[in-house]
């Protein structure tokens, strides 16, 4: 059991890093630890748990801005903004179910450190696009800030972008400021039934390139649809392709009409509105079909980001070669893959198919710790980029005290 330090505030967090520097200790930076099983297994001496550095410090709905201490539960923030008819438009996914933990356990800092997003990524962006300002402690034990509380800001380097998706390896975030947006009044989903992967990606591509303003485009092949928690999807007896429309009622009605006309040539259509639509996208967002509590699910899970139009080519190749299940989100640009266990968790095959399919990045999200220590969990980088990333790490954390080795050896 490693020691855990639980700072009460930003000052404590700074003291903890300074202490670690003074005593040659390394820290594993976590919020509640809900995503701890992602990345190379921790080699740190002490856990730095930020969950007590919590609380919303500013929320001005009219200004579309919210600030919170990094350890604030995401659930608390989502409930608060929902009470004002607003939301985090990037729809952060929750790794809880996939990793076999509880749902809703993550912190805001963790959401940003992992640059989470959800189905609405295709329209609204990821955490990085909504992250306006930060105060953080570098691996030098110095507290710095970047950004601010306004959306339009180009003053100095945008360090928020760099911290988003840095998995605790550069700095300990203590305070974060985010953009919030009004929640859509209405949501409806148009469903296409029984498409193969290639036709589904074609249909989604056409829908995305229309003026229907689609805010979610996912394809669930038959076996994956069968694992969905909605009876109407699980019982459809085949693949389901879902296209989400959100907005004011007259607009959604008009766009649904247009979208159905556009999609008719592809497949038989159906639709969900209200609660069913919401439930469907919640399930896609957290990848319920591959949840660890599901039927057989201790299979390794990969998250692959690729050029959307190449999605089916990559996904089908892996599905056929490995007997894998795949779920497509982002109109084909995000491929979730669950494969039968194997020596390298399928790394060579998944990354090979991705390279053939035009490139992108593949991250091993779920697998036993021993495998995560042996294979590249994060996409290996081309040498000049890897060297640059290492120099960036050294600029923030020269002694490697912060979650070092989590993304790549030495980083």
């Amino acid at each position: 059991m490693t020691d855990t330090l639980k700072p009460r505030d930003a000052k404590d967090a700074e003291d903890a890093v300074r202490w670690a520097l003074d005593h040659d200790k390394t820290l594993e930076v976590v919020g509640t630890g809900s995503k701890r099983a992602i990345g190379r297994p921790s080699q740190s001496d002490v856990t730095l748990n930020l969950s007590a550095v919590a609380g919303v410090t500013l929320y001005e709905p009219d200004e579309l801005v919210l600030s919170a201490k990094a350890g604030t539960p995401l659930a608390e923030i989502e409930a608060l903004v929902a009470a004002h008819g607003q939301e985090l438009a990037f729809e952060p996914m929750d790794y809880g179910p996939l990793l076999g933990g509880a749902a809703g356990a993550g912190t805001m800092g963790g959401v940003i450190a992992a640059n989470l997003s959800g189905p609405r990524r295709i329209k609204a962006g990821a955490a990085r696009d909504h992250f306006l300002g930060v105060t953080a402690v570098s691996g030098r034990g110095e507290t710095f800030k970047s950004g601010g509380r306004v959306v339009k800001n180009v003053t100095g380097y945008d360090l928020c972008k760099l911290l988003a998706g840095s998995w605790g390896t550069l700095a300990v975030m203590t305070d974060v400021t985010l953009k919030v947006l009004p929640r859509a009044e209405t949501t409806q989903t148009v469903l296409l039934l029984g498409l193969d992967d290639a036709s589904a990606v074609q249909a989604m591509s056409l829908a995305m390139g229309s003026s229907c303003d689609v805010s979610g485009a996912a394809h669930l092949p038959g076996p994956v649809a069968a694992r969905m928690p909605l009876a109407a999807v699980a019982g459809a007896g085949g693949a389901i392709t879902a296209l989400r429309l959100e907005g004011v009622a007259p607009s959604v009605a008009h766009r649904r009409n247009a979208l159905e006309t556009l999609m008719k040539p592809f497949a038989a259509l159906s639709h969900f509105d209200g609660a069913d639509s919401v439930a469907l996208w919640r399930a896609v967002r957290v990848v319920v079909p591959f949840a660890a509590s599901g039927a057989d699910d201790d299979r390794p899970v990969w998250r692959v980001s690729a050029a959307p139009a190449r999605g089916a080519e990559i996904g089908s190749r892996i599905a056929t070669q490995a007997g894998a299940d795949v779920l497509y989100d982002w109109a084909g640009g995000l491929i979730w893959i669950a494969l039968p266990p194997s020596g390298d968790a399928g790394a060579a095959m998944v990354r090979g198919a991705l390279a053939e399919g035009g490139g992108g990045h593949a991250t091993l999200i779920r697998s036993p710790a021993a495998l995560r220590a042996a294979v590249d969990v994060f996409q290996p980088q081309e040498s000049a980029v890897a060297a640059l990333a290492k120099r960036v790490k050294d600029g923030f954390d020269p002694r490697g005290v912060l979650s070092s080795g989590r993304m790549w050896a030495g980083i």
Partner: protein, 496 residues
């Protein structure tokens, strides 16, 4: 005026050899060394600053950029990248002992990929040219700086430029997916691609908005969006700026994010109306243009709601565009606001702070007081939806001392923006212009941390020195650790 880095006499003494060597890399007319031919490069959109470069190089291929940078790196030569030279913050201002690297010849659109909704373009392509190239299929590139006929995508990436539609569609950083870039060492790196997000550190996000200090961008992959079916605008006049500000807050409070929401104050309204005759009311203190876009049904619905809100906020005039022609007319005045002010004053100085929207009345009032104190008029155009102010300070450069006063007035406005919780620049960049104001927003620790990032990309500090950072520290010095010395005891933090 802001001081530039000290001249390197040894470099200037070698000028002839340097020009010769650069000719060897970029043959023919790609190297410009004659004074009169370099004149067009002596300034950018911040025309108060002028400086001839040592030499201008106009490469045509990534390999040439790489070879030029490798040479400059080896020889210790400073390099200033340049797109179209429309920067309003002096980002492309040359250095007397530096190489000006013009990217104008990188002007091809390499690929249009409708299936993935992206275009792959060279950095010298103008912003508008991207939208024009995809217009036939009903697509466009969303960020739309007012300078879009001239400014380049490379410049947009370097400045993280915005436009009137970025309230709804985001700035450059939200609309770029990939880059090819050359580091000062000559190494060529690719960041991102046609997919979303980074598999590692978001270096693409850092390079965007880095003002030419981290590398030279040689290719950009931008997102394309389908054009909205329709757009309609409402023109609303208010008796006070408080009422207009209130209206903006209530529109957003009602859950409406318009495609664009622009405000002008009385001096700006009068200047614009005199110039383009857009039909603006002249007896109001503030004018709001609210544009809704999307399907007809959506625009009609939201126009109705926005109009109701405006009436409840004491609007004294309210006109809804009934044709595309009328919508464009509403915008014509706003879009011509800078030149319109240019007509009523020999010179003007354009500022670019951002404030929390609710502080607008306060900031406008304080600005009025400053205007009296400095004896200089100011006209305001304002991206009201996202709090980005563009005060235009009117002055006459031929009157002794006026430029100085205008600069001081501008600096006071920016300090005020920071004081009320805003920032120094919303979209025009720090450049040389706001460089020395950085400490009003950032501590020394903040600035040093930013510079350590600079060191990761450019350890010798050769790319665009003199911009953004008031003091450039040596990387070796920044890398040093000053830990407490005596060992901190185990800190007083709860343990488990």
């Amino acid at each position: 005026m802001v001081a530039m880095p000290a001249l390197d006499a040894a470099v200037l003494a070698r000028r002839e050899a340097i020009v010769h060597a650069l000719h060897g890399i970029v043959p023919g007319e790609g190297v410009i060394a004659h004074e009169h031919a370099m004149r067009p490069y002596e300034t950018d959109g911040l025309t108060a600053y002028r400086q001839l470069p040592m030499v201008v190089v106009l490469p045509e291929t990534t390999e040439q950029v790489s070879a030029v940078l490798r040479y400059c790196h080896t020889e210790g030569l400073k390099v200033v990248p340049r797109g179209a030279g429309t920067s309003l913050s002096g980002g492309a201002l040359p250095l007397a002992d530096g190489v000006l690297l013009g990217m104008a010849k990188f002007n091809r659109i390499r690929e249009i990929d409708f299936a993935n909704r992206v275009a792959v373009v060279e950095p010298g392509v103008t912003n508008l040219a991207v939208s024009q190239a995809v217009d036939r299929a009903g697509f466009y590139y969303a960020p739309d700086p007012s300078s879009q006929i001239a400014c380049t995508i490379g410049g947009n990436v370097a400045e993280n430029s915005g436009g009137v539609h970025c309230l709804k569609y985001g700035m450059t950083t939200n609309n770029v997916l990939g880059l090819e870039m050359v580091l000062i060492t000559g190494e060529i790196v690719r960041l991102g691609g046609k997919h979303f997000d980074s598999g590692g550190y978001d270096l693409l996000g850092i390079v965007t908005g880095s003002e030419g200090l981290l590398g030279v961008v040689t290719e950009v992959t931008v997102r394309l969006l389908k054009k909205p079916e329709t757009a309609r605008a409402v023109l609303v006049g208010f008796p006070t700026s408080e009422d207009a500000g209130d209206c903006v807050a209530r529109i957003i409070g009602a859950g409406i994010i318009p495609g664009g929401m622009e405000m002008m104050d009385r001096p700006a309204i009068h200047a614009a109306e005199a110039f383009v005759h857009a039909g603006y009311p002249l007896d109001v203190e503030a004018l709001l243009i609210v544009e809704l876009d999307g399907p007809q049904a959506e625009c009609d619905h939201l126009i109705e709601r926005v109009s109701e809100i405006a009436r409840a906020c004491r609007a004294v005039t309210l006109k809804v565009s009934t044709s595309e022609q009328e919508r464009l007319l509403f915008w014509a005045g706003r879009k011509a606001a800078f030149p319109a002010v240019g007509r009523i004053s020999p010179d003007y100085y354009c500022m670019d702070g951002t404030i929390p929207r609710g502080k607008l009345p306060l900031v406008l009032n304080r600005m009025r007081a400053m205007s009296e104190r400095y004896g200089l008029q100011v006209a305001n155009v304002f991206h009201a939806g996202d709090g980005n102010l563009h005060p235009l300070i009117l002055y006459d450069a031929n009157k002794p001392g006026e430029l100085d006063r205008a600069e001081q007035f501008g600096a006071d406005i920016l300090r005020l923006c920071v004081e009320v919780g805003g920032v120094l620049t919303g979209e025009h960049g720090v450049g040389v212009e706001k460089r020395d104001l950085m400490p009003t927003m950032f501590s020394e620790i903040d600035l040093n941390q930013q510079q350590r990032l600079k060191c990761a990309f450019d350890a010798k500090g050769l790319l665009n020195p003199g911009k953004v950072f008031p003091v450039l520290h040596r990387c070796a010095e920044l890398g040093r650790m000053h830990v407490s010395g005596g060992k901190l005891p185990f800190p007083d933090i709860p343990r488990f």
